[in-house]
Symmetry: C2
Subunit: 156 residues, 2 copies
DNA sequence: AGTAGATAGTTGCGCCCGCAACTGTCAATG
DNA sequence: CATTGACAGTTGCGGGCGCAACTATCTACT
């Protein structure tokens, strides 16, 4: 990488920039599904998916596993609640925590969304051969580990 | 990827999410340099780097090559101008365009920043072997092509 | 039991950014 | 020449998000 002299930075070859640009483009591409078809913002989409995976959990858990700021989670949850896609119930053992769960409508949306999203993921990666894809995802796994992104980490 | 049943989406294994999270973490990591040490926002950093590479160019060109919205470029340029890191001169052949260039102070900042940024890039990628790194960057190149990110594209 | 510190979640504030609309300039066409 | 449409760049507006501060609750320690 960066074959030029060490005193010149070519943005197009600078890995952090390329990664940012790529992730943004992929995000925009995927948002056609959750945004245009289902009217969800990315933070709401993440909350929905997390709840679809872990039937009941707290906002804190969602913040950890999605690495979103807790205020962002709070707002996404509030929005989903307004739209009756999600319901809160106060936890009896700890009144600070709210137990979050998808409503029937939320589950229906989840079930409709997931196959489309997985299909889009495949389509995005379809420009890579199996070997290339494995190498790509393997490298990402290593980078995640190096940056301590695996498992539930909080940023703020 | 996604070895589970096709009706469940595990966010931690969903490539678009992983890519987004990784790019964000890399961005935060890199921002220690341009933000904390030099007081630049990411958009300003990109403008600075682009001008360091192409001595004189227009805002439009910066928007294309960085894939930033033209208003974002406009504000970053205005901020850099206020800080005397950049100077505008009106183009004689086309009065609509502004010819942008770094000032001496801007060039000094650029020269101080670039080696640190390149070093940080190396450090970020140091968890990969040469083979892995080549495979990783190669895959990114293919994905960029598939998403038409290479070369100057405008999004808006 | 009572107090202090930690934790879950919400909200006011300010900043950044995209959208749409605007100004000013250029090129093409009559 | 005048007019129309395209283009470079700026700005008002609104929305989303992070930070800090807040409330409410739990836990630990005396």
């Amino acid at each position: 990488m960066q074959l030029s002299r060490p005193d010149t930075l070519v943005l197009e070859r600078f890995a952090p920039f390329r990664l940012n640009r790529l992730a943004d483009a992929v995000s925009v591409n995927l948002s056609e599904i959750y945004r245009e078809r289902f009217g969800l913002e990315i933070s709401e989409w993440r909350v929905l998916v997390t709840l679809g995976q872990h039937a009941e959990c707290t906002a804190q858990h969602i913040a950890c596993s999605t690495r979103m700021h807790k205020t962002r989670v709070s707002r996404a949850v509030a929005s989903l609640e307004r739209r009756k896609l999600l319901a809160k119930t106060s936890n009896t053992s700890d009144a600070r925590e709210m137990c979050l769960a998808l409503t029937k409508a939320g589950q229906r949306m989840y079930s409709a969304l997931v196959p489309l999203a997985l299909q889009r993921e495949l389509s995005l990666l379809s420009c890579l051969s199996d070997t290339e894809r494995r190498a790509f995802l393997g490298a990402i796994t290593k980078l995640e580990a190096a940056l301590q992104l695996s498992g539930g980490n909080v940023r703020a």
